[in-house]
Subunit: 140 residues, 2 copies
Amino acid sequence: MSGARQPSFRIGELSARCGRSVHAIRWYEAQGLIPGVLRDTGGRRVYNTRHVGWLTLMERLRITGMSVAQMRHYTQLVVQGRSTLAERRRMLAEHRRAVEARIADYRRALALIDRKIGFYEEWIDSGQRPDDPIAPDKPH
Amino acid sequence: MSGARQPSFRIGELSARCGRSVHAIRWYEAQGLIPGVLRDTGGRRVYNTRHVGWLTLMERLRITGMSVAQMRHYTQLVVQGRSTLAERRRMLAEHRRAVEARIADYRRALALIDRKIGFYEEWIDSGQRPDDPIAPDKPH
DNA sequence: GCTTGACCTCGAGTGCGCTCCAGCACGTTC
DNA sequence: GAACGTGCTGGAGCGCACTCGAGGTCAAGC
């Protein structure tokens, strides 16, 4: 390890620091999403600040919709070392594209929702039902 | 109903027109997400173009993360008629805010992912492992 | 040396949103 | 009148990502 001694802590502290439950952290490890977790003499998991950063990355990938299977694959690449650098970059770039595409979908959906909101606004203001903004009310 | 006779069709056609499985459409109806579906003499569901529009709206709400329970609530408001116009507008506006917030989360996550991609790029180009962009590689 | 609290493993349970299947009915075509 | 395509109902099953609980271990403090 490099130079200065890293402060280490156990799972309760990691849980507090990154806002995930201890159950979730252990489950992530069991899924192969947290490599290199050492144990103390009592068999308890020991972490340091690098793990906080790693879990932060995992969380960002998760909330942007990467599946656990893909995250596992990415983690395996990391474990394999430098030979997988290009593949890791490719994976993240690909994921980035997928997220941008989803945002674009959201924007399209919002456009429709906005038209519907405008439709309600006009109806409320005028007291007269306006023309349908593509998606009609009450489909009978 | 209003003026001109609407062309009507059955569930297979609706499925083809809006790209959902017949199973999914029946399930949506059972969940209270498609009000006012009439039957022909043989007991088969009959739809018209208004249903296509309605399902389009439902799909947009779904893909932007509205839960089925919320969609059911919204549908009930629509069925109740004009007295719920303001509440419907409120629901959609609230949902809109939630979607915008999620997009903002995505953008924050993408910022981290971009730093990580840049990190890999630099590492690949220079052959030297650069400083960590917050989330470190290999947490051992 | 006993209590306390944090941690351990293993496995079952949960909520969501479908998806699929069995078994049956209808109605058009040959 | 038999076959075929399309539709019906009710209910079981599924994939995902956790979440929780039972039952036990360990070590620090009193």
